[in-house]
Structures are given as structure tokens and as C-alpha cells.
Symmetry: D4
Subunit: 233 residues, 8 copies
């Protein structure tokens, strides 16, 4: 019914206007990472158009989050991307050499939290970090957590991923002296209310040195951990 | 404007009718403990009338919960009761010899949880249980929890009292093989939402063998722990 | 993109590390029951690997909760398990002779609550308890509840399973002197909000001697009831 | 800063306009009862002005709800009213002879629910109903409820007032064949969330023939019960 | 794994025990209507078994609520029932002659509320009431409401069915002097939160003489309206 | 089972009664726009009948919101409509010449908000407004917002459409002096709770001159913007 | 402990920096109204300092919202302000001549909503609008609403202020063709949840042409109404 | 009634047991900061006892959060502490020289957010950080934010403190490449729901590189910022 979409209006403002999206070309300079595409709610055509615009303007590494396997398949016919089904991440371009201060540990309470943890871990790797994974070390079996105390204490930053009651963040937070990013997951049922229970628990953690990202937001946690691991750089 | 209150209608039904209250005389037989008076929302006069009715019918031990210090003072002028200001508990009659299976441990995450814990501990003592208190053993300093492992493992039942993120219940639940009663407290602020955060966390505990009572319900936890400690008796 | 999973790292710590899971071999000693597998969110391959690891280390009885019929079929091609579709439970190994103090009664408010009740009842049986089922005895027809008063009063522990307004727990709690585990279910619609209504009602029960588990958590209720029925053993 | 209030603009429209209030003179004809004044949020001066307007226009009986004791004292200096502190009700004019179909029973779960119950009972009496009070008959002591079965079954309408888990409405609803108005109260603490728990439970009642009014709305329940008790009249 | 279901244990208690259900045969005497089957969460086999038990014991009219079209088809192969797809109601037996005091009006705010309204209207008809339907008379077009003022004022009871902001109940409640049963529906989106918005609005109605049932609970509203329309009979 | 639907009862009241719907013919005069059909929850047959009634009574332009692609196809076989799949809007009749005061700007935070924005933009166009679209100008890349400052400041009304944290409305609101209509969308996940997060943020906007419509309610925002753009006309 | 507050840093940026506040001097140009001071959470000293800074820079009219009577008294000793206790508004400077397009009507459901309505009305007057007040015209007495139909239809914008179920906005919205700003108030109790009930109802209004501001936000509604009444000016 | 508190049980475990508190002496080594006392819910006597224990064991710097002015006065009579009333912080011992990587910027949306911001800023200073304060730079006056762009971009970590809609965190997050800690405050009213609105907005921030702490948790944000500013040290 209407079509007033302007294209390529203002490259000098630092972005390219595709009408449905303004592709940000200055973010790498401004925020230390090139554009990340939030895949949910975008058509495959829109994602491809954004990727091609970025390629055309010399952006090498682009991450696509919350990308379905089906969409990844269609994109791959046009633009070369790698895809991880568990983390639902697509990646155009390569993974750089780690250049962070130290190591980021990504830990999960259980096996079911791994997809979110992988989103965090892979995001951090794409952003130039060395990552160590410690999965299924939840507090119901505290000896599993404690047997990894050395690895936890060597970390520069820790990403603690847990659903249900989210106690992992508090327990780890009490054991270490580095910053902890807590990621509540929607793993659970009933009164977990889609991750609300873990979210509230993590926000109320009695262990200082913890901050929280959105439910299932592995990407945000990995991004934040990378920023911390590059502080002052 | 109206007054259709009948009194003393039906002692043979097991209760005495005071109009504003039906005093239950059969509970001791039916439920193993004499009437407990929920003090909140009752006038001092009403509480005294109930106590006197119970005395007159031979009930020896009566617990009054959520009793303000001021009300306790007024009651004491008429009926001899003991009062604990921290737990806001009044007690008519004596504390019996412990006759339970073993020991009930009452543990708290922090110092601010102690009033609720004392309500639980004293209720259990009044009901004939040996109680051991482990206060301020929260997960932010895990070595404090772990240094009491022996006492925790010797317990018949454990009451775990914690506010904020309520992780204590999960951590203890993962360390022992006895039943754990989790009591969320309203200790906290902001997103603790008056104890909701701890409540949800405890309901979602990944440690099996845990059940939960209402926020700040020390009485209910002590009562439940006593029942468990008298199972089969 | 990354693969730093170590396997079989530390049998001496009491668990076997499969990377995606740390299989707990010491739980039977520590918590009185061998590992229980939470089936939701795990792939069939992961469940099979955990079962095989347990078998290899001499664990005889393993329960798998929230297991879909389809997954159960695939598992059965590799590891011998029994499966109950209504309770969505899988079981490797046999059901032991009951060795608890007395009998666990599992009661439901209605017919639609039976799947959750069966999860509780079967969990308790697997853990060595004699179980009596009283189904569809909800308070809308109080004579149904009252006609089972003898069975309720003979119980060592009662598991009360109800959705909608969850009044069953309060009514039973007022009639007996044994511990009652209340299980809210998601049965209902509209303002039942997926079981929240029953959950809140049960937490606020005016009948003392009641504690609550998560919505639809039949497993947790059966586990807790078993612990209570083995107290002091 | 502004003053555009018109007074006495349109008596022929059925109301008198006081600027801050439009006093409804036609309600008695339209709705079967003269104006009721919701006392909360009105100044004493406003209430007096409304009462005087009504008097001047021949309205005899006016109920004032949620009236503080202090305000009642001030009003009484100007307009003759009766006041009940427990129900926080003021009444100008007399109580009529009962002319309803039968008897309204007002029942409460506990003693703390009585203020709300009295608001219901007195409202019904002011509207011309015979009222029977059954207080403290909650489900934790079911024999107390059942010993009043005859009075419950003789009622034309029942108002069931309860806080905490609100199970009273379901239990009574299952025992009788007359309409039941359920009134949740804010009695309770913690997860009662100011009466939300009882409200949800009553809305989800498995007993048919029950409808619910707002938390602590004794007036609304008494009004509705009166309408039912005058159906077809 | 277990099978302790007893059948036909106690006909003299007023019900027949099918194990998964206790079929209530005394309800017609006790509550004025024979058993109603809540169809959700029951298997077709269970529903058929209950219907056959009732038939065998002389129950003539049985209503089945929340019955899917598919289940109705299967049931009809065994037991003769009528089925209304819009209201998702099944009916065994005939509709009796109206014997209530007057007429029940069922009104809806919009067209999308009709399925819930039909559940109410048909339930009332099955219970012996004359019913008048006024559909799509919501407050956004107030002249539509007002043009039916006569029919509204002639009613003995009104069932007001509305989603979104649920204002219909308040507007009708202010116009009439008979009891109004308000039924919030889940019609709406966004901040209607599945009917919560309409539910809260109806509970807070400033029009006296209104009481509320659960979201989408047409059956409960029709049942309550019938009870009111038979008061004193 | 029942059929008391009257048709075409009262054309003189300004509407035609189809039984399931009262088609409002006077709205164009009363509210400045002919009937809008809320497509959700109506059958295709009902929508067609309403459209035909309107056509027969000379209504030229009718908008159908929340219309599925499948339903649109069926309707088009009978009544000529245009359909936009992204906005899920159907339109019978033509788009009029713009006659508003100035231009309405519709802005979105991201690409995923475009369907809601298109519903707003197209509704405004159908109601006689000139519309300018500014898509993907969210605050995470503030330079994108700021590069459109001139267009924002030239607007008569702005519709700000955003999900997640909904900050777009506050940022725009602080930059302009025209009214801003904020539309929260359900774009997001986890703690966005289906748009609740954006809704609350917009309601709490620290920028004056902002008002909010329901989550995803593009139609309502476009309608409101049109009214503002025609104020005094 | 620390003191790095800079003062008067950058007048050329359009504001004066007082350390605790950046006083915005450009808002009058940018947003059409000089700074408004949100009084809650500021000390009297801070408010005085801001007022004096504004005076010194030639700002004539400044509104202070949510100002307590006590604070107003102290401020008046230093800076000449007018104060309205009911609306809790302070005003430095005079009220301008109305220069808007037409008249703003401010309507309330009841008498208790007047403080919020006055905040709206007086804000609009301060911003140069003619305002007409229609108080206590709620839907429980629809004839009161309808007797003002002419005044409602003559308005350029309507501010509808209501608590409890908030139906006023929908009813007015269905009667007029101008924009309606709905203001939910916290008037009510129980399930009104501090205004949440009215807020949700207004967001879900079935009457198009309505937008909503925060609970009790009379200022925001008056501000928005003024902007609409000055559109295109 | 009971007194089983053991004192000074196990100095070798790293803490001193005062019965009501286990004073952690190893935290400085384990977590990089000596014990912090959460003042809320502790008696003045308890706080003094903890401070004296710490002094006796050589802990020099101890922070007391959420300390009332009255309690601070009493403590100062026994133990020398400094007190800041706005931030409600007490401090025993001195503030160390800054030894962090760079500068922490603490920014607020408005003046009312300053108490929380000061808690953050002073905590960071006590932990050895250089802190720059930017107060009242909220998004409603974006030029205030943008005029501090240099200071924001020079920061190592930013703490963004805001109530109401909490948009400050997103706007700052989009402008910088360092980690941002977002602190929602309870500043606001109505639908801010005690800070919930700002909390949700910050969790859903579309700007990557942001993590969130509890509502009003200035201490937690300052602590986290300090950890980040000392990463790798």
C-alpha cells in the first residue's frame, strides 16, 4: 500500500539504509565489534541483504544469533557462513586469535543449560577470547563444583549459566575474586516461570561481584565477558 | 447492630464456640498438638478468652504465633505466658522432654534470617524435639556451610531458612540424605519482592528431598519438621 | 567451533565426566538413591550415554523423569528400561522390596491429576516404599474424601495432588497427624495460571504440617515422601 | 487556580451536582437501594455534604463504607449516623424489616476474617435481609464446618469469607445447593500476597455455584447476596 | 508398575469408584444437578466409562464441558450424546422444561466472546432455565447496549461475558437491579494477558451487585445463574 | 440447541443485527471512521457477512485487522479486498487523499518491529494521513536516530514502535515537541515477557508528551495518531 | 567522602550544571515548555536551587509536581510559588492566556479521582489551554455520563481519569471522535493492585482513539493533552 | 528459651563464630575485599560485635551498607566509623589509594537516583578505584548525555543508575565500548512497581555489553565495577 523506503541514503553517517534496516558500519570502531544480527523476527532475505551489505563494505566477521537451522541452510546457499545448531549461531568470517587479558570460564548447572552456554562461549571466542567450558557442575552435587576450584580461580571472568533455582551463580560468586556474569536459563518447569525464578535468584545473589543478563541471553553474557576480558585494552 | 453469637453450643463436637472463635479441643488427639493461636488479626481480648477456655478444658501447652510485644505484656497480666520478642512467640505451659526420632537442625543463610529460624526452632522444641541451631552459614561463604557438614549429616530433618536468592536449601539438600524443609524469608530488597525470589528458588531446587513452606513461616517449618521427626511414633 | 570436553577425568572424585554431564556415582552413598536423570532438555544420545556409564559402574536402579514416549522407544533399543507413558517415567533396573516405616498415601483431587500422582507414586515405589493410591477424592464431593478417613489416618506420609484451587491439601492436612506433601498441578484454565493458583493456596494452607513442592513435581513429592518414610533408618 | 464547579445543575436528570460529586437520587428506583458512599478517598466535608443533600431529597437510609473512626466522629457532630468500628461502616437511617426470600448465612474461615464478614452481614441487614453468622468454621478443623451443616443447607445464599488459601468456599460450595458468594480476604502473610492467593483459589473453585467478589469486599458480597435473596421480588 | 485400584467399592456412600474416578450419584440430591464431567484432561475411555456408570445408575442428564470435537465423535459411537462445537459441550439426555423464576439474559461484548457465552447459555438451559441471548452489545457502541435496556431490566439474572477491558459488566451492572454474573474471557492480545485484564476489571467493578467467575468459565456462570434463578425453590 | 437470534431488528437504531454481531452503521458519523473489524476470533463467514452488510448500507472503506492470510484468501473470493500479509490487514475500499494537519512519522527500534509499524502506518493512511516511515532507528545506534532529527521535528505526531526495553519512545520524546504515541511490541525474549518490559518502560517514560497503547497494537496507534492529526477539523 | 561536582560548566550546551542536577534551559525551545521539576525524591534545597537558577536565566513559568505541603511552605519562604495541596502542584510564575485549538475536558469516574484530575487540569492550564472539568461521571451511573454528552463531543481532547475498573475511558471513547487520554488511578483496594487493574483495562480498551499514561500521572496526561491541543501550532 | 550458640569455635576455618554471625576473616584473601556488613535486619549490638571482632583480627577496612543514621550514631560511640547519610553507608578504616586499571564513571538519569549512585561510587572508592560522577544526564534531555561523551568514552567501566524506564543504560551502552553495569532504582511511581519497570528494561537492553544488578543495589554495582577495573591484577 505504501513504499517510501529510501536506500543507501547516507553512507557518510556511518550506516547504510536498506529501508527495513540501517546497517551499522561504524560499530566496530565505536563498540569494538562489527554488527551482530539478531536473527529472530527477520526474514532470510533480510538477513542475506544485511550480510551482503556488510561484505560489500569490508566487514569481515559477523555473528547471527537466534538463527534457525532452516534459515541457516538458505543463507548458506548465498553467503558462506558456519552454523552451530545447538547454540543457534551463524558466523560469517573467521574466529580471531585470542587477544584478551586471560581466560573466560563458561560454567553450567546442568546438561540442559548447554545451548545457552555455547552461545556465550562461541560469542566470546568470535570476539577474541580464550574460553574454558565447565558443564554440569551444579550445586546439587557440590563436589562437582568444588573439584574445579582451580579452574574457576584462574579465570579472568566467569559466565555462570543455570536454570531452575539459579544457585550456581551465588556459589561460584562466593568462591572467586573475578567478575561473574550470571545467565538465567528457561530450563525448568512449573514455578520456574520460563526462567523468572533463576533470574530473580541471580539478581538477589548474596555473593558480591555478580551481574545478570536476560534469560537465555548467552550472547549478551559472552559479549559482556569479552568486554571485561579486554578492559583497558 | 447485630448479635447472634451463640456460646458454648456444642462441647460434645470437640470444640467450644466463643462466637468469634471455635476453640478446638480435639486437635491434640487428632493432630498431635493442642491448638495453636495465630496472633495476627486477633485482639488481645480474643486471645485471652481463647487461652482461658483452653486452660479451663485442661489444655496445658498452647503456642501463640505472630504476637506483638505489647499484646504479650497485656496477656501476661491475666494468663501466665512466656514470650520471645525475636521470634514473636508466646507460650502458655512448659516445654516437654524431647521424644522425637533424632535431632532437627535449623540453619540460616544470614543473621537477618534468625527471627524466622527461632520461630521454627522454638516451635519444634515446644513439640518435643531436640534442636540444633546453625546460623549464618549461607552460600556466599561456602566454607562456613561445609565446616558444619557433620552436624548436617547427623540430622533427622533440616530446616533451611534463607532470604535473598535462597540458595542455602539447594546446597544443603545436595549434601545430605534426610528431608529438608525450606523456609524462604522476606530478608532482602528490590527484586526479592518480599521473599518471592527465595520462594521461587526453593520451589525450583535442583536438589531432591526438599519441600517448601510459606515465606517467613518459621512456625509451619518447625511444625512440619516435628511431624517428620515423630513419623511412625 | 570448539571442543575442549575432557572425558573420564576424575573417577576418584566420585563422578565420571562425559563433557556434557558429570555422572554422579557417589550419590547413592551420599543421598540414599542413585542418580536420577531429568529427561527434559537432554538428547536421547545423552541419556543413553549416562545410563551406560552408570551400568558400567554398577549402578543398578536409575529413574528417568519427564521422558517422552518416543525417546523411551529409542533408548529401549540400547538399554533395557521399563516405561510408563502416563507418568512419563523410565526405569532401568528393578523395584526393590518396600523397607520404609509405613505406607505412603498418594491422593488426588481429580482424575486429571493422576499423571502427576503416578509420577509420585512410582518414584516412591522405586525408592522402597509401600504406596496406596486414593484418586479423585477432591473437596467438591467431601463425602468421597471422608469415606477414606481410615486410610488417610493410617498413612505415614501423604502426598496430596491437586490443581485448580488446591484445597485438597488443606482439608487432608486438617484431618491427619502425619506430614503432608502438597503437589500443585497445572490442571485448570484461566486464572489457574498454569498451577500458580494451586501453588499459592497450598503455601498458604491454614492446616499445619504441610509443605509444598513445585507445580507438577510428582517426582519431588515421591522422593520427599520416601525420605520421610525412611527417617532414622 | 480554577473553579468551574456548577452546583444543583440538573435535578431533573436524577442527580444533584455538587461539583466534586453527582449525588444519585434515582438509584433507589433504578437499582433497588439508595446511594452508598464509598468513604475512602473522600474528605469528611465531602461526605457530610453528600449526606445532607440526600437528606434534603428524602433519602432515608444511606450506608457509608470504609469509614474511619475519626471521620465517623466528625460526621456525627453534624449528621446522625451509627458507626461500627470493626466493619468500618457508617449508617444514616434505620435498618428495615427483613423482606427477602430466606436467610443469608455469612461464614468465615477464621477469627481474623470477621471485619470483612461483618461488612457483608451488616450491608445485607441494611438491605432488608435476615442474616445468620457462622464464624471461625475454616477447613483446618472440618468438624467445625460439618457441625453447622443444617444451617448451611437451610440458607438461601451463603457468603463465604476466608483469607490464606480460601478453601472454605470450595468446601461449602460442595455441600450445599444454594448460590455461594466467595469473599477473599487479605488475612495472611508472605505468599498470600494481600489476598491474591485466596482470590485465585476461589476463582478456581472446583465446586460449581460459586462466584467471587474483590478482596476484602464485604460490602459487595452483602449487596450481591441481598439481590439474590430478593430475586423475582 | 502398580495396580491397587478398587472398583465399585462403596455404592452405599453415594458414589461408584472406578479407580481413576469416583462417580458421584448423590449430587443430584445434594446439589440439584447430576454429575458434570470436566472433559479436559480425561481420556475418551474415561469419559465413556463415567457416562455408562451414570446411565446404569439412572442418571438421565449429564453435561460434559470442554469436550473436543474429536472426542465427542468417539463417544457418540458408544453413548448417545449431542454436541455443540462452538461451546465445546456434550450432553447426554434431554433438556428439561424451564422451571426457574424468570429469564436469564446472556450478553457479550463482542462476537469473539460467543463461544464462552454459549457455554453459559446452554448450561443454564440444561438446568431448566429460559435464556435470552444479547450478543455483541459492548460499550464501544453504547447505543447497542442501551437499545436492549428493556430486555436487560426484565431479566432475573444477567450473565455478562466480555474480554479485553471487560467494561460490559460495569455498564450493565449500573443499569439494572438484578444480580449480574461477570465472565471475563481470554479474547484480546498483549496486555490482556489471557483474560487477566478483564478479570481484574470485573473484580473492581464500581457497580454493586456483580460477582465474577473464572476466565472463560461459561459453565460456572450458567450454573450460578441457574442457582440464582431457582433460589427458594 | 438454541436459536433466538433476531436479524435486521432495528436499522433505525443505527446498526444492523446479525445475531452474532451488531453492525454499526453510525460510527462514521459518531467517531469519524466507519466500522473496523477485529478479525481475530471471528470465522471467515462472519467477516464476509459483516462486510456484505456494510456494502449493502453504503459503507465504502472498511479495515479488517489481525486477518490471517488464509482467511483473506477466502474472503477475496466473495468480497474484493486488498491484503497486506506483513501487517495482517485487509482493506475493502480505497485509500482517501490525505486531509490531516501534517505528517505522521512512524518509527521503529528494529527490523523485527516493522509488522506492527506497518499496521499503524497503513491504518493512518486509510484514515487520510500522510505517513513517513523511519525504520530501524533504535537507541543502540543513537546516530541512526539523530540523523533523522529533522524528519522527527517536522512531524505532527510520531508513532514510536519498539520491543525489548522500549527506550525509543523516551529518546524521541525528549527530542521533539509534538505528541508521541508509544507502541510496545512483543519483540524480544526472556524477561521481555511478551512485551511487558517495553510496555512498562513506555508508561514510565521520563519524557513528557508520550502516551501508550496496548502491546503490538499498531492499529490503535495509527487510529490515535490520525485523530490527533485531525484535531479541530 | 568525595566531591567532584562541577558547577556551571557549560551554559553554551543549553543547561546549567548544579552537580546534582543539570538544569535544562533549552527545553522551552525544544519541547514547547520550560523545565518541569519532579518534586518527589528531591530535597527542598535542591528544588530551591533549581528554581533560582531558572529565574536567573529568565525562565518565567516552572511547574513542580508531587510537591508536599511541607516542602511548598519552605520553598515559599525563598521563592514565590503558588501551591495546590489537592493536586500537590507548585507553580512559579503565572498562568498564560489559553492559546490552544479548543477545549480540553478532564473527566473523572468518582470523587476520589479528583486529585489526579486536578494535576492534569492545572498542568494543561499552565500550558495555555482552556479546561472544562466533569467530575464523578463514572459508568455505575451512566445517566450522569450521558447528561454531559454535549460537553464531551465539543472537546478537542478528553482526559479520562478513573480508578477501580477504569471503564470510563472505554465508554467515553465510544461516544466521541476526538483523542482520549486515559489516566488510571490508584483509587481502589484489593485486586485493584494500586491501579494495575485500571491500567490494564485502559490499555485493552475496545474503543479506538485512546492512549494511556502511567498510574496517577495527571501531569503527563495534562501535558499530552496540551500538545494535542496545540498540534500544528 | 534455648541457647546453643557456640562462640569462637573454629578460627582455623577462616571465620569467627559469634553464634548469630560467622565473621569471615578469609574473604580478603579469597574475594579481594574484607567483610562487608549488610546493615539491614541486624541490631546495632550485632553490628558492633562484628566490627570489634574484625578489628581484633586485623581487618582494617569494613563497609557497612543500608545503615540508618540512628544506628550509625550509636555505633560511633563504640567504634570509630565515618557515615554518609545519603548513601546510608558506614565505613570503618580509611579509603585506599586508587590502584585500578582506569576510571569508573557513575552516571544517573536524574537527581533522585543520586543516593543509589553514591552507594556505588563510594563502594568503588573504598575498593581502590578512581570514580567520576555524572549526575542527572537522563535521556529526556539527550544533549546532557551527549555533552559528556568524552568522559563516558574514557571510562574503564560505567555504572548507569536510573529509575522510571531505565533507558539510560541502553543509550550509554550504545555509545561506548567498555562494560556497563546497569542499576535500576525504585525512583518512580505507579507502573514503575518499585523499580521493576527499570529492571526489566535494563535486562532487555538492545545495547550489548550491559549487565544488571538488583534494584537500588548501588553497593553491588560499585563492587562489580571495581572487580572489572581490577581484572587481571
Amino acid at each position: 500500500m505504501a513504499d517510501d523506503k529510501e536506500t543507501n541514503k547516507s553512507p557518510e553517517t556511518g550506516y547504510v539504509d536498506l529501508g527495513f534496516a540501517k546497517v551499522d558500519l561504524a560499530r566496530q570502531k565505536r563498540q569494538g565489534m562489527s554488527e551482530v544480527i539478531y536473527g529472530a523476527g527477520k526474514t532470510t532475505e533480510e538477513i542475506i541483504a544485511i550480510l551482503e551489505t556488510m561484505q560489500a563494505h569490508g566487514q569481515e566477521t559477523v555473528l547471527i544469533t537466534r538463527l534457525s537451522e532452516e534459515a541457516a541452510g538458505k543463507i548458506r546457499e548465498v553467503v558462506p557462513i558456519r552454523y552451530d545448531a545447538r547454540a543457534r549461531l551463524g558466523l560469517m568470517g573467521g574466529i580471531p586469535e585470542p587477544d584478551g587479558i586471560g581466560t573466560i570460564v563458561v560454567a553450567t548447572g546442568g546438561t540442559s543449560d548447554i545451548p545457552v552456554a555455547e552461545e556465550a562461549a562461541m560469542t566470546a571466542e568470535v570476539m577474541g577470547n580464550r574460553v574454558r567450558r565447565l558443564y554440569d557442575v551444579g550445586v546439587a552435587g557440590l563436589h562437582r563444583t568444588l573439584s574445579h576450584l582451580d579452574e574457576l580461580r584462574e579465570a579472568t571472568v566467569i559466565v555462570a549459566v543455570a536454570g531452575m533455582e539459579g544457585a550456581l551463580a551465588s556459589v561460584i560468586g562466593g568462591l572467586v575474586s573475578c567478575p561473574v556474569i550470571a545467565v538465567p536459563t528457561s530450563v525448568g518447569y512449573g514455578a520456574s516461570f520460563g526462567g523468572l525464578s533463576a533470574l530473580l535468584a541471580m539478581l538477589n545473589s548474596c555473593a558480591s561481584g555478580t551481574a545478570v543478563v536476560n534469560i537465555d541471553n548467552g550472547f549478551g553474557a559472552g559479549f559482556m565477558a569479552s568486554r571485561i576480558n579486554h578492559v583497558g585494552k
